[in-house]
């Protein structure tokens, strides 16, 4: 399902639904229009989130849900509001409106939060003079986690041999690993990673992809932001795409790709003109895709092969057009840009 932002508003659950459970709340935060239930234990959710900095609207009525057991990619161009949203989820920033919830609660209400939410916001967040092990140790101690967890996460991210080295001497890839180790200290069911792939070498990208898949496979809710869709190829199950603080799409990766492929088929042939003629049958759209290829839409592969064979056109290959995630994303954001242009006019009115 692809939801436009407007549909997203309509999908809001009614505040009174479900069994009420008392949620400890801070007076200055106001009442929660939401009910925490057991099913929400490992779900990250933002609803109607709004945040402005001065006259700049950073987040404009954003709603989405990150479910356990899958990797949710959080995508948008730089400045779209990804980091701001994550900061509000982690209680580092206060929303102007709406709620940002982890496990059905506001982050600041969590006890021992490291055991519920793990976060990597900034891979450069360490003191250069501190040993990697000590960096993790102070984080662990703040939540009363045993020191052996430090050794476990160091092993998990492959930094065991570097544990005694000062973080200032680490490479960028090692910083990312150290940051991820910090997020995993409390073995939390929810994970929030801001641009974890940024600046990694191919080996590191593969490592992170496998790690994210494994963490989600264990039943955790994983939210991973990126400004490059290609970085999420092969790791994300679900995508939340935002632009200028608004939701553009909230969709599974499979749906997005299916939709973007449009059932187009690419035919490789030296006889382009003949192929075009043969394939121009009822219900089909045919276009030259290059000097030796033709793109067909509206015809199944079997029919194309039959038509070509019957028409005596030689071809070297027939393949369903599989768009990359990047292509699908580009198509999506192109529409979104148009939408924003319209929305801007409406607002100006």
């Amino acid at each position: 399902m692809i939801r436009t932002p407007l549909e997203g508003h309509a999908a809001r659950p009614s505040p009174g639904a479900g069994a009420r459970k008392t949620v400890p709340r801070r007076d200055d935060l106001g009442p929660l229009p939401f009910v925490a239930s057991r099913g929400m234990e490992a779900t990250i959710e933002v609803r109607e989130l709004r945040k402005s900095y001065g006259s700049t609207v950073a987040i404009d009525g954003l709603s989405f849900t990150v479910r356990p057991g899958q990797v949710t990619g959080f995508v948008g161009p730089n400045g779209a509001g990804k980091s701001t949203t994550m900061r509000m989820l982690l209680g580092l920033d206060t929303p102007d409106g709406g709620v940002a919830l982890v496990g059905g609660r506001r982050y600041r209400e969590l006890r021992a939060p490291l055991c519920q939410v793990g976060a990597l916001l900034d891979a450069g967040a360490f003191h250069p003079g501190r040993r990697a092990r000590d960096h993790l140790l102070w984080i662990a101690r703040s939540n009363g986690l045993p020191a052996k967890r430090v050794d476990e996460v160091l092993e998990l991210v492959g930094l065991t041999t570097a544990a005694g080295r000062r973080a200032g001497a680490f490479s960028l890839g090692m910083h990312q690993r150290l940051g991820i180790a910090g997020a995993l200290l409390g073995d939390p069911p929810m994970l929030i990673f801001d641009e974890p792939v940024n600046g990694l070498d191919p080996e590191g990208i593969v490592w992170i992809r496998d790690l994210l898949r494994r963490l989600a496979g264990e039943g955790r809710a994983v939210l991973v932001s990126s400004h490059l869709m290609s970085e999420l190829e092969g790791s994300a199950d679900h995508l939340v795409v935002i632009g200028r603080g608004r939701l553009i799409a909230d969709t599974s990766v499979r749906e997005l790709l299916d939709r973007a492929s449009d059932g187009r088929v690419a035919v490789r042939t030296a006889q382009c003109l003949e192929a075009l003629t043969v394939l121009a049958v009822d219900g089909a759209t045919v276009a030259a895709g290059g000097p030796d290829s033709v793109t067909v839409a509206g015809l199944p592969v079997e029919r194309i092969v039959t038509l070509l064979s019957d028409g005596g056109v030689s071809f070297s290959g027939v393949s369903e057009h599989r768009p990359s995630l990047e292509e699908a994303y580009m198509e999506l954001t192109r529409n979104a840009v148009e939408f924003h242009a319209t929305a801007g006019q409406v607002r100006a009115w």
Binding site: P68, G91, L92, A125, H127, G129, N143, G186, D237
Partner: protein, 469 residues
């Protein structure tokens, strides 16, 4: 849609109480080697500068006639004293016939003391040219009588350990001036006439220090009608002291003497001088306290801290407790080491050298540690409010040191006011003597700094929860 059983953390029984926060902050503090070195540098600077200034910290002044030897530089106990032993209860009566008016506080009168040892318990009833009749005891008690001058009759009566002073214009009608208790007075006490006169002082306060010149100032007085009771002439020992030996039945004396029997407000405070090194060590502590906090903003670590512990006020409180505790322990080591290493270098004077057994000295040493701890917490609070390292260091050092530096160039009253109302009042805790330029007593001074620290920390904690990280 994928349905999965939500994951549950394998970590059992996590806690995020204040104790965990403190342990976490301690781990942070101890794991950056540069900070440890900064702390060590602070200790080294404190000790070394203490040793450097110790040589100039000896007692000085002209009370150098041996009679003040071995007592605290806070007191002067010298003069001309003609005395004899009085066994048990009794009294001495005298008429002060004349007194030279060379100083408003020149003293001439009667004195009873436990012994002739400097610093031994005494009670003295005296006439002064400018301050009337006074009954003084043990340097600290001062009871005013009439404003009469010589000639005048004085009487000192001992009963057990109480000594009563009375005065009379004519030797017939007596007015009681007061009664003092002298602890540790034994059966035999010295009783007699004395003359003393404080040195003439020429004090020049200048930028960064003071210049004190004391000139001996001879006081003179004549006494007659001396009568000691009970009158048992055959048992009374001869008069002694004053450079003259008088017959047991002599009744007139003429005495002349310099020196004073009083508190002395111009002595160099050797302990305080030694501990001034802490002022330099303090700069390292201030820098460390500020960096401990602002480095987290600089490196983006503050987000890690606040995601691990979302209750920001508690984080700052835990930081303050840990930093204050560590600084106190380190400060204690530095102050004790300074005292032990620097006190042998103090110039030997007549006054007793400062000793650890003196509660005032002990208070100054422990107080120095407390001073450093408060300064560290104050710096932390200012850093938390300003969030900029250089600005925070500048503000803290300005508040702490500027009053002291400016004070030495300002008139005394203004300097005292500054050292009472600014955070610099905390340095008062290093005093072991009360001086003419003492602005505030040691513990109240520390309390002033404590109030500034509490206000700054309270505001910082209140603000931390309400501010954008």
């Amino acid at each position: 849609m994928v349905t999965t059983t939500p994951y549950r953390s394998s970590v059992r029984d996590p806690r995020d109480g204040f104790a965990q926060l403190m342990l976490s902050e301690w781990t942070k503090l101890r794991s950056v080697p540069r900070w440890g070195l900064t702390m060590l540098a602070g200790v080294a600077v404190t000790i070394l500068s203490g040793m450097l200034v110790a040589g100039g910290a000896g007692s000085s002044g002209s009370g150098s006639d041996g009679s003040t030897k071995g007592i605290s530089p806070q007191y002067r106990d010298a003069g001309d004293y003609v005395h004899r032993v009085l066994l048990g209860d009794g009294s001495i009566t005298v008429r002060v016939a004349s007194q030279k008016n060379n100083d408003p506080w020149a003293k001439g009168g009667l004195m009873l003391r436990a012994s002739t040892e400097p610093g031994s318990p005494y009670a003295a009833l005296m006439i002064t040219p400018g301050n009337g009749v006074r009954l003084q005891a043990n340097f600290t008690t001062d009871i005013p009588g009439s404003s009469g001058r010589a000639p005048r009759w004085l009487k000192l009566t001992r009963q057990g350990t109480s000594v009563t002073g009375s005065e009379s214009a004519d030797g017939v009608t007596w007015n009681k001036v007061g009664t003092v208790e002298l602890e540790g007075l034994r059966q035999g006490a010295e009783i007699g006439m004395f003359v003393a006169s404080p040195d003439a002082l020429n004090l020049r306060r200048q930028f960064g220090g003071e210049d004190l010149v004391e000139t001996s100032n001879l006081g003179e007085a004549t006494f007659d009608n001396v009568k000691v009771e009970p009158a048992r002439p055959q048992q009374l020992p001869p008069w002694r002291g004053g450079g003259e030996r008088a017959a047991p039945d002599a009744t007139s004396f003429s005495l002349a003497g310099a020196g004073d029997i009083a508190m002395y407000h111009y002595a160099t405070d050797a302990t305080e001088t030694m501990l001034t090194g802490a002022m330099f060590g303090m700069m390292a502590i201030v820098a460390l306290a500020v960096l401990y906090l602002t480095s987290e903003y600089q490196h983006g670590l503050i987000w890690t801290t606040f995601t691990a512990s979302p209750r920001r006020g508690r984080v700052l409180a835990a930081r303050a407790v840990v930093l204050g505790g560590v600084t106190f322990v380190v400060g204690l080591v530095a102050a004790f080491a300074t005292f032990l290493l620097a006190s042998p270098m103090v110039r030997k004077g007549n006054a007793a050298p400062p000793a650890l057994s003196d509660p005032q000295v002990l208070r100054a040493i422990v107080g120095t540690a407390a001073l450093l701890a408060l300064v560290a917490v104050f710096s932390l609070a200012v850093a938390s409010i300003l969030r900029r390292g250089a600005a925070a260091i500048a503000v803290v050092l300005l508040l702490l040191l500027a009053p002291l530096v400016a004070g030495s160039a300002l008139p005394l009253a203004a300097a005292k006011w500054l050292e009472r109302v600014t955070p610099a009042a905390g340095f008062a805790v290093q005093q072991t003597l009360e001086r003419y330029d003492t602005a505030i007593a040691p513990l109240p001074g520390l309390a002033v700094l404590g109030v500034y620290t509490a206000l700054a920390l309270g505001y910082a904690i209140w603000r931390s929860g309400r501010r954008h990280a």
